[in-house]
Symmetry: C2
């Protein structure tokens, strides 16, 4: 192999040489001399392919490896800019050791920020460092002093106007020192000299990181929100058969008092009549059937129309405004599918799949058939028009004051469509929140978050045991997932009444509510089914509700004395008062020697607020155990007592050291939510002690 290649090679030499000269030349001035390498920037998602997510007010800590050949000193900056700005903000990087550097920037505006790293060799700082070593070794530094002056002269040649003046001053001072080498040296080694010189680096030889990294900055509600889902037609409590937006208005105080921020309404649009479903998903409804709100569209309109029995557009906008005065924001459902009666079906048959017999393809998951739903056909040649129309639907509701959308089954529409739609909406309305209702395979759920969804439904409802909860929430909060996937933990939905909730009664509802509200900074319940412990399945083994509101109007006695509303209100108040519960970044599980007890803590980003939660996962028995806290991570000194205060019962405990005893009775309160105070005062903390 070697010999033959050698022979080939010598034949090729002239051509190779020519190509070599060309290649060297292509390293045009500057290019071949970029000496600083920049690697492993964090945060960076999938090699920079997708943006990370933060909220307004966050400080973004960026780290990177920076190093150069040789032993010269290097410097670097983190550069960042809001998409609306032309100029970079440069923040100096500081070394963390082992060639790792760090800096941070604050995000104060909604929208996208770009960030990157720039690094360069600092010749003057290198000269200063070496000069100090030379002086310590008593070497002759005559020539080195000239080199220092030369570096300053060169800098003056390229400096900006403002800097040039400062450099001229410096040069003047240097020339006055010419007769006194000691003074000259002193001046050259001064910190101020270093600073001036650092400001006029020859950036033609600076390296820039090869990816433009992006962070999407949302409003704080994107990370911290409590959702309440409610069927607007089930809000009536008189004899009237169908609730209206007006009834919803009367319900607002009830929801606001429980401490929710977002009121999510299933689709409010006209409901199709063809193949309309009857009670309990009966494929043949009768004249009394109200149908499923997700069978969208009738002769009276489609996705931008309102179901007449709910009220008028004015009623709707009034509901939105009324909610706002109570601190509630209305979220609408984007369910991009049609009933057979939707106007699109006749106006845009090209947006549906037509079968060889001329009929339109209804929804299927073979062998299951859903004749009341026509899916939109995203592989149609006419997809640009379809995309544009769906964008207009979103625009319509934005124009009517909606900024939060819960998206129905986003995993059945193409990723590229969502990337475009969400990107386009947020370019104009960066405050918009999209919650992805996808319960599908994990990589698909994660990918939807990567392409733009602000929040995501999770597997929380099916994570009930201690190892399940620990593993899942470790994955969500301690891996790169946390950079882009914001979990929204739902205790239940109109589709999901887990077997866990079906059995176990009030203790299970309390525990699941507390878990959702403290494991997740965003969570939701579907009510009043939840606070009223609705737990009857359609049939054994099913997760469908019996007499599901999806297919009928329900009347709920929200004033029932055993309602969980007070407990929910208390939990939501604790969430609002404790920043630790408003993000998931500092979630940590703590060992406890009982498989039915789950213990975890959360801290605010600065660590000043700390909450410790212990939950009894068994609805049946009192459980107790020894909790083993990781004191170092919690910032608690092992040799000092600290106080834990149960925010639910207002019991106070003084603990010391990592091991502490807890006991929880599911039939009273199956959860303890402790505020932890590290700075418990002792005698020496008082003035009169000394």
């Amino acid at each position: 192999m070697k010999r033959s290649t050698r022979k080939d090679a010598s034949r090729n030499v002239p051509a190779k040489q020519a190509s070599r000269e060309k290649q060297v030349a292509s390293h045009a001035l500057g290019e071949g001399r970029l000496r600083v390498a920049i690697e492993h920037v964090e945060p960076e998602l999938d090699g920079g392919r997708y943006p990370v997510k933060r909220v307004v007010g966050d400080t973004i800590i960026v780290e990177a490896d920076l190093f150069a050949d040789g032993h010269d000193m290097i410097r670097g900056v983190l550069r960042s800019r809001h998409e609306s700005q032309d100029h970079w903000l440069n923040t100096p990087l500081r070394p963390l050791g082992n060639d790792r550097w760090q800096a941070s920037f604050n995000v104060t505006e909604l929208g996208q920020y770009h960030y990157g790293i720039v690094g360069w060799v600092d010749h003057f700082a290198t000269w200063q460092r070496d000069m100090r070593k030379r002086l310590s070794a008593h070497q002759d530094v005559t020539v080195e002093m000239l080199i220092g002056k030369q570096l300053i002269e060169q800098a003056a040649g390229r400096a900006s106007e403002a800097l040039r003046r400062r450099l001229k001053d410096l040069q003047a001072m240097l020339s006055r020192c010419d007769s006194s080498p000691q003074a000259l040296l002193h001046l050259l080694l001064e910190e101020e000299t270093e600073e001036i010189m650092a400001d006029c680096v020859d950036h033609r030889l600076s390296s820039s990181y090869d990816r433009d990294l992006i962070v999407v900055v949302d409003r704080p509600q994107a990370r911290f929100s409590a959702w309440y889902e409610m069927f607007p037609r089930s809000t009536t409590d008189d004899e009237q058969p169908h609730g209206t937006f007006k009834d919803c208005e009367s319900r607002l105080s009830y929801i606001a008092e429980m401490g929710f921020d977002v009121l999510y309404l299933p689709p409010i649009h006209p409901i199709g009549e063809t193949h309309r479903k009857g009670r309990n998903n009966n494929p043949r409804g009768d004249s009394a059937s109200v149908g499923s709100p997700w069978a969208i569209g009738s002769r009276t309109g489609g996705h931008t129309a309102i179901h007449s029995e709910l009220g008028s557009l004015d009623d709707f906008t009034q509901l939105v405004a009324a909610a706002h005065t109570k601190g509630l924001e209305i979220a609408l459902d984007l369910a991009f599918q049609c009933s057979p009666d939707h106007p699109y079906v006749t106006e845009h048959p090209e947006w549906f799949k037509t079968r060889p017999d001329g009929t339109i393809q209804f929804a299927e998951n073979p062998p299951k058939q859903y004749q009341d739903i026509f899916p939109l056909h995203f592989e149609t040649d006419a997809y640009p028009g379809l995309w544009k129309e769906l964008r207009e639907v979103v625009q319509y509701w934005i124009d009517h004051g909606i900024r939060i959308f819960r998206v129905d089954n986003p995993h059945t529409k193409p990723f590229l469509f969502w990337k475009w739609l969400i990107g386009d909406v947020k370019a104009s309305y960066p405050e918009t929140i999209f919650l992805a209702e996808a319960f599908t395979r994990p990589k698909v759920m994660y990918h939807l978050a990567k392409v733009g969804f602000t929040q995501s439904y999770t597997y929380f409802a099916w994570r009930n045991s201690k190892p399940e909860l620990t593993d899942y929430f470790t994955e969500l909060t301690a891996s790169s997932v946390r950079e882009y996937f914001r979990p929204n933990l739902w205790t239940n939905t109109p589709d999901i009444l887990t077997e866990h909730l079906q059995h176990g009664g009030r203790p299970v509802f309390m525990a699941r509510l507390a878990l959702a509200a403290t494991l997740g900074s965003s969570y939701g319940i579907y009510g009043p089914a939840f606070e009223l412990y609705e737990n009857r399945p359609q049939k054994p083994g099913s997760e469908e509700y019996l007499d599901s509101e999806k297919y009928e109007v329900r009347r709920w006695d929200i004033s029932r004395p055993d309602s969980l509303k007070e407990f929910i209100g208390l939990i939501n108040r604790i969430r609002r008062e404790n920043p630790a519960l408003q993000s998931d970044g500092r979630l940590q599980f703590h060992p406890i020697d009982n498989d039915y007890l789950l213990a975890y803590s959360k801290q605010s980003s600065d660590g000043s607020n700390m909450i410790l939660i212990v939950v009894n996962l068994s609805p049946h028995h009192v459980h107790s155990g020894w909790l083993e806290l990781d004191l170092a991570t919690l910032g608690i000194q092992a040799n000092r007592p600290f106080q834990v205060h149960d925010l639910l019962t207002h019991a106070y405990y003084v603990w010391q050291g990592p091991r502490n005893y807890v006991q929880l009775d599911p039939h009273s309160v199956p959860v303890q939510i402790f505020a932890v105070r590290r700075d418990l005062r002792r005698e020496e903390d008082f003035d009169y002690y000394l």
Copy 2:
């Protein structure tokens, strides 16, 4: 915030709408309908920024996440091609579960291979799957049959010539079946139909991975090599003061008998006279001083000349040829620096840094000064000429038969220079091996490997205790480092006589040799210092050899009866006979309950060859312990005995289960190298048993 944005937004609507239409349009036909997402391809280094490395004959297993929206079936291929080919080889991906897919390709040629992933929705396979479900549910499939025929018609419209003929046949058969729905169905669901249809997919809607990934394929010696470093001038064993290439020739058999593959010679070029160093690094040599070979260049020539006392160019090429006949390859040193007498200094002063007093900057690490060395100045404006000249130096030695270069201090020259130089050399001579002699900070060493070095020196010499060795070699072999950084483990070098070697005598030399040769598939020794236990430091605490060959000619009695040459020969023979020791990919450490005993195993890539090594790290005492093997990973059944055969002592042991006892006496042989035979036969394995 929300209100003001909304107001802004409504002002902007017309402009926004226009931009929206433009954006939808920019998703030209096909683009918006690429439904398959491709993520997390492995191997992929730093988001695809750098190539991974393999050797000729390797099978490259590639994995990726592939998934689409919805529930349609998808397919994908791994595509790969050698850089010299225009066409992709497509290998079908097979699903591993959880949306992970895998395929592999073989690399049979030197150079670079490109690889990537393509994925698409398979409508026909989806149709077949759904049809089977419909049939099981006894649904009417009349319209679905028409859809299947339609899919085949559409495929015929876009198929290649060859496929169109097969499709026409299929269509003819289908039309013959028209009267028999059962026969039609049978034909549509046949595997052959699926295959034909899979071959004529509409690839306009296929997704391709967004990075062109590259694997550099080297010759096997890049991964498996045993190096011997020797000063050519120290090869004389008569009264002659200076060894020659002829003397080296006489030494070849000795080196080949020890089983080495590569003979690395420190620089063979003329040695400078200005500031020439004397014995033991004396800054003032006298007329008898031979100087350091790394002070390259004199009146008689520079990097393409030969030091006259070693012989002529003909002598050199004869040495290269003679080595080749003994299975040895000569490696030269690329030390890109100059003595003050190097011709470059006068011919190309622009390649050096000139100080304000007109002198040329000598090498420094302040306050240390090396007046005998002028570093090349890579920040010079004239760097393109410098790069080209250094490329010519490499070419010169390539033209004289050299394909292995040990590069001196590469971390003091820019990364971009090496990336270009190595890339350019390997584009014409892909068999070339560059070994990076960088002992510097870890990220710098790793980066040199990323930009192109074939092999790298390591920290092995300073890793002596059990946790040090375990941690370091786990980092090198079980992290992404193994994709690009090929460790070459040196027991010693002319610069490195570790304190560990200085104390401990023969047992330490044996243990370190065995560790280097079995922990690393590439390793090297600097001899004859090593095999003759040279262990006298220049002064206590120093790692410099006393009477170092760097500054004087040494004479070695290589026939000393206590030489380690037999032991080294045996170890190298074991390496050659056992594929397990020829790569580092399947290195695994095993617990053993004695801190002085280190145990690890290596397996060949197919697992058929397995070696278990136990080393007594203490040169002082006999140590014994209970070894705990990870039988599952080793592919050994816990309920069957297996045989271990010590390849050094030829002792045989039969073991069963994970726990086994070992004992090693450093004063006889401080290491056991067991060949492990899983398939130890028992009575039932013999024909006559039944």
